[in-house]
């Protein structure tokens, strides 16, 4: 597959990808390590809470979306990290058995002023469940290397 550069993310493009089922085991495993609150750890305790049942840590959702983005986009691109994320919204709970996918929108793109070999792409990522409901929305920028001179466009 062709390598994706800054030039391959046209403004306005909307793409959907990814297919990842979340298990109760991995929700609890992440929570034990990074977010040990009862509604991420224990079904019975979670039922008593405002979550109404076991839900993934919001940071776990963010990490899972990152993994989907890596597998589907970043690892076959010239991605060079992110200067920052404008916003993350946890809109709906992620529960055991949910099947996650991502919708990516390119909002803006500009060459870096200080680094001529880098471009900044502003993207919105929406994490969706099996009912096509957006469970998390994230907006921010990603650095991509620019296509080297002479390399043919795909």
């Amino acid at each position: 597959m062709d390598r994706l550069y800054f030039e391959d993310f046209p403004v306005g493009e909307v793409v959907e990808f990814g297919d990842r089922i979340v298990t109760a085991e991995e929700i609890v495993e992440f929570a034990r390590e990074f977010d040990p609150q009862p509604f991420h750890l224990d079904e019975a305790a979670a039922r008593e809470s405002m979550a109404g049942g076991l839900i993934a840590s919001g940071w776990h959702s963010a990490a899972l979306m990152m993994r989907i983005n890596c597998d589907e986009v970043f690892l076959r691109s010239s991605a060079q990290g992110s200067p920052g994320i404008e916003s993350i919204d946890w809109l709906k709970p992620v529960r055991p058995g949910d099947r996650l996918s991502v919708r990516r929108m390119t909002l803006a793109a500009r060459p870096s002023r200080s680094r001529p070999d880098i471009g900044v792409v502003e993207m919105r990522f929406e994490l969706m469940n099996q009912n096509h409901e957006v469970v998390m929305r994230q907006q921010g920028s990603v650095f991509f290397g620019r296509r080297p001179n002479g390399e043919a466009r795909k």
Binding site: L64, G81, I118
Partner: protein
């Protein structure tokens, strides 16, 4: 120490969340699971990247800050229970604003995290308020490596 109820918070309050050492093993383990980009996994590839060397996934850094925040609150809840007081119901996070990673976290770095209460807002639900907390991580050289505003619900005492 900042209390756990919504009413215990005032804009401008600050608290230390403690520090965490990022080992090479933990950086690689997180990256393998969630962020397998070359600059988080492979020293040679990382040296050639914009980061100039291996560094932790930004999601790893923020996840560790969450752990420190939760640990502090768990200790407070335990202390309340020991005193025979009922701790407030736990609120969920709503989102994050203005998340930045101004400098990389390297293997062996010790990052000290702190928080500052940035905003307080009542919600339509009388039993919950929304608190904005700026969480900042600084490395052993005083360099900021991560900063974000966490928006989270906190139970109201008056409810």
């Amino acid at each position: 120490m900042i209390g756990l109820w919504y009413e215990d918070h005032e804009v401008g309050q600050t608290a230390s969340l403690g520090a965490h050492r990022f080992t090479r093993e933990a950086i690689l383990d997180f990256a393998r699971r969630f962020d397998p980009q070359p600059f988080h996994l492979d020293e040679a590839a990382a040296a050639k990247s914009i980061f100039g060397g291996l560094c932790a996934s930004g999601w790893h850094t923020v996840s560790v800050s969450m752990r420190l925040l939760v640990d502090g609150r768990r200790a407070q809840r335990k202390a309340l229970a020991t005193d025979g007081e009922k701790p407030p119901p736990l609120g969920l996070g709503r989102g994050v604003r203005d998340l930045r990673w101004p400098a990389p976290v390297r293997p062996g770095d010790v990052i000290a995290f702190s928080l500052r209460v940035e905003s307080l807002r009542e919600t339509r639900r009388p039993d919950w308020g929304l608190i904005g907390m700026r969480i900042v991580g600084v490395n052993q050289d005083g360099r900021e490596v991560c900063a974000y505003t966490l928006l989270g619900l906190a139970a109201r005492r008056s409810a």
